[in-house]
Symmetry: C2
């Protein structure tokens, strides 16, 4: 009896039938959305009403309508009138690659659990590193979202720049990071998770155009030092969340170099500018960052969540979660790049690299450039309209 | 020109055509895998060879073969001979729901960006809470993996049980958690991220059958206190990773209650036993845990990564990342359950709840019970064979 339930749930023929139906539903949905045949981007329901609807659906809804009801009750990010939420309308090929990932479910912690996606992840991150302007000492990996990637980068910074071994011996002093007051809240959150508290998050005021006021860096740094804070990192936003303004990465780099602190770029949203000849100037100086975060699901047309974390010096990516800080002494030629759980926060993760790889393999990198250009041009048009 | 590239990439008709091809490929693959028509679970390649293969594929491979090559170069988790990696052979319906999530890409940070999936997430977590044995004060959410869920639970514990306000004022003393030496490494990792160091991770030796030796709890606790450590949490493993042995949750709970510390259950792997009448005894006492982690992608047949984090007292889930610890004073009736970024670590996340909801809506909860029973029975058979 139990085996019958399982057999039916795993039946390839049920999957084939439901799958073809779903592809047609989604293709129709995509057509209607892109061509504005729907009235609205969202058919608004209050949270409680939405909750009651699905509760009732689970109790006595028509199973055959499950997917079509989900389509009705969601935000249509492919609608040309959709704006303002910083989540990508995914390129449909990325979604199909996601389906492969979902069914194959290769977990990626160690090489044998994700042979193709592990190799593909190296290729994808090398591609992004080269676009950043990093040399072949650089390395990267994909991880579950920008918040996690920023936390991971700050942990790498703590390991690399704090003389005391916090990972093994615990925190024994007041540590601090510098960041614009306009930065995404996840930087603040990462610092608090690490136990830095208010005083460890040195917020640099923004200018009148909402980017970091770099003329204040020395003053705020000296004040922190005088207060007994060991500053180990500074984060540049590319761009900040609310306004989309890019920090002056070159000036931040100069400051970081002068004080020997880690320079991290949160390019979750706009780091994809590196793919566009027309807009890459917005991230001038990014090639000097010790670490960079770029979300695939912002301006790289990927389904959530597919974040790249890139390191100028790949050794740091191996050191973040290592138990002893012996990485700089390790002369082994085999860097064990293919066992990702040693470098990523998560043990199991999706085959997210295959989504980006498909885009490159089938559409080519020019699609990324075209998308960045289109988004920025639309924004300029919009700015003109409301001026 | 650029618009043409974009139009082609987003074309509904290209999606339809590729989608139908992919469904057939995957249905055939599923059939071959389940019925062992492939020689092996994995066609092994060395990491460097795999890397070279995909590098070459990107340069001059046949695009039309992309998906079929990925199928060849992965681990086939649906093969009946697959074992040992603790990642689920996903139920195909879960993968189809994942495709919807991938295309719709509703980001889930705030309600308007994920109307249906937010409501569905509440229903799913309420369902799991009820199976744990929690009452209606409980709450939960889904998050990106067991490692992140365990970190989040320990942050909640720190907020609830450390008198000092670490989130705002920074860490000012030696904090510690207790956990079996056989626990998953992510508990150790979470503690080190929070700056606890070696001394803050009090490893309780395991018994000869590899579960936590609970007779040592008092001794280790007193030693930690004498060493100046403020112990704020204890983690029970359900089960531990390497051996699959369950800790005695009832005894751990009694200990935690006596010392007023947080009781967390890492049920990432085996928490799904709550769905089986036959095996739920393995997690006796789980209903007394302050927080519980269960991975959908272990014994709940879900694609990676779909982890549930459940709180006995839902107030704690709102307090974890809140800026001020005013949650216990908050008498507002509107608990704002529908803006998930306030409670989850990540801002953007996938519509993971829809995958679990589909399983419940179409197959019913008995599928979960059948799967747990089947896995445990197979394990018992296997144990018998090698005895």
């Amino acid at each position: 009896m139990e085996n019958k339930i399982l057999q039916s749930a795993y039946s390839p023929e049920n999957f084939r039938k439901r799958g073809h139906q779903l592809i047609d539903q989604l293709a129709d949905h995509l057509d209607k959305t892109l061509n504005e045949k729907y009235d609205k981007v969202i058919q608004w329901n209050l949270p409680e009403d939405e909750y009651v609807f699905w509760k009732k659906f689970l109790a006595d809804g028509n199973q055959a309508h499950l997917f079509s009801e989900i389509l009705k009750h969601t935000t249509h990010v492919h609608n040309p009138k959709y704006l303002g939420h910083q989540v990508s309308p995914p390129v449909p090929l990325g979604s199909l690659s996601g389906l492969i990932s979902s069914l194959l479910n290769n977990g990626m912690a160690i090489y044998e659990m994700g042979m193709a996606p592990t190799a593909i992840e190296r290729i994808i991150t090398e591609f992004i590193c080269s676009k950043i302007g990093y040399d072949n000492k650089s390395r990267g990996f994909l991880t579950s979202g920008g918040t996690l990637a920023n936390l991971t980068a700050l942990l790498s910074a703590r390991k690399a720049k704090v003389a005391h071994d916090v990972w093994n011996d615990g925190s024994d002093r007041d540590l601090g990071i510098m960041v614009s007051e306009e930065a995404h809240y996840c930087v603040d959150r990462a610092a608090r998770i690490m136990g830095l508290g208010d005083k460890g998050i040195i917020k640099i005021p923004a200018t009148s155009v909402f980017n970091m006021n770099v003329s204040l860096l020395e003053e705020y740094y000296q004040k922190a030092i005088n207060d007994g804070i060991t500053v180990f990192a500074i984060v540049g936003s590319a761009p900040s969340t609310a306004t989309g303004m890019y920090d002056d990465l070159k000036k931040i780099w100069t400051f970081a170099k002068n004080h020997n602190i880690w320079f991290h770029v949160d390019g979750a949203h706009g780091g994809a500018s590196i793919f566009s000849a027309k807009y890459s100037h917005t991230v001038n100086g990014i090639d000097q960052a010790d670490s960079v975060v770029i979300d695939g699901h912002k301006m790289m047309m990927m389904p959530t969540i597919t974040t790249a974390l890139l390191f100028k010096d790949g050794n740091h990516s191996h050191a973040t979660f290592s138990q002893k800080a012996d990485y700089l002494l390790n002369k082994s030629r085999d860097e064990d790049w293919y066992n990702l759980a040693k470098r990523t926060f998560e043990c199991t993760k999706t085959m997210m690299a295959t989504k980006m790889f498909s885009l490159l393999a089938i559409h080519g990198a020019e699609l990324l450039a075209a998308n960045v250009n289109r988004l920025c041009e639309l924004t300029e048009e919009f700015a003109e309209m409301i001026r």
